[in-house]
């Protein structure tokens, strides 16, 4: 199968949802609308010619000043076909949420908690969305680009 199989199939199946694609140096990537994310992920996992059965990585990027501000990035791997695929979906600051994919890949659980912890992106339908690395009383989300770099939280220890 040629390298762009996934992109072609995705474009054919979801012409309205896929807003951008590229396959630079074999790095197949698609930017999709967040409303259809769950549907697209399910298709990628279950389609007989794709079978992306391994959710390898999930993270977020803060493009401060751009609208929509955040990008959630998913890296999928197909064990049967030894193929990788990247999905990005854009999330605005005002509606800072996206559907959880834990129902499709259980491995997304802690990744989504980490993205919530660091960026404050809410994953709708996550079974237990709470902070994973920082403590419960922590205020704010430190990997946001507008988090003050010198800010100290009054848990224990210095506050300035």
């Amino acid at each position: 199968m040629d390298a762009n199989t996934t992109i072609n199939k995705l474009n054919a199946r979801f012409p309205e949802s896929v807003t951008e694609t590229h396959a630079y140096r074999g790095d197949d990537t698609a930017v999709v609308k967040k409303e259809d994310l769950l549907q697209i992920c399910k298709f990628l996992r279950d389609d007989k010619e794709l079978q992306y059965n391994f959710m390898m990585d999930l993270t977020a990027v803060d493009y401060l000043g751009r609208e929509p501000r955040f990008e959630v990035v998913y890296h999928l791997y197909s064990l049967p076909f030894n193929r990788r695929f990247r999905i990005k979906t854009r999330v605005s600051e005002s509606e800072c949420s996206v559907d959880s994919i834990v129902s499709l890949w259980a491995s997304a659980d802690w990744f989504e908690r980490e993205a919530y912890d660091m960026y404050g992106i809410v994953f709708n339908g996550h079974p237990e969305l709470r902070r994973i690395l920082l403590y419960e009383d922590f205020q704010g989300h430190p990997l946001r680009k507008d988090y003050p770099i010198k800010k100290r939280q009054p848990q224990i220890g210095p506050t300035c």
């Binding site: 690395l133 920082l134 403590y135 922590f138 430190p142 988090y147 770099i149 800010k151 100290r152 939280q153 848990q155 224990i156 220890g157 210095p158």
Partner: protein, 192 residues
Amino acid sequence: MGIMDMLNRKKGPSHAVVPTDSGDETHLLGGSVILTKLEAINNWGRKYSFFQYPFVTACCGMEFMSVAGPKYDLDRFGAALPRFSPRQADLLMVVGTISHKQAPILVKVYNQMAEPKWVFAFGVCAVSGGFYDNYATVQGIDTLIPVDVYVPGCPPRPEMVIDGLIRLQQKVMEGKWADFPRGASPVSNIED
């Protein structure tokens, strides 16, 4: 070095000496009696028998293993017996970075240790936070618990650790009864 030699050092005790009629001095009961202060011999015993609690959180732990192992051998200084219960330890070795999430645990371990107790800040992260000047890291464990010896370095060389331990021994030797108990950590009410 025998026990008598050790005791005879600077602040240590001395043999009981009795002047004789001829003007010479003789050791009382042939040198089998020594005179000292209870505080001095107590401190002497403490400084050569640290029971350490290794609170190892980061890469400094590798250097700690090196210094505790046979090549550098902390046992030569009497500090070779790690106790993995704070109740049985009197030297808290804080080895590595302490995050704010870890801080309440460190405070709890310190509070659980029996008096008298000492704290050894091992490595620059424990000393000052090191280069982790960020939202997650405690900027030096002395913001949580009192520290006796600071050994910087990333990680410190075993020689520095041994030097720090010897300085701690000197400090213990100069200790007073009134120094203890030190009480709970000043920030412990936040957790408990």
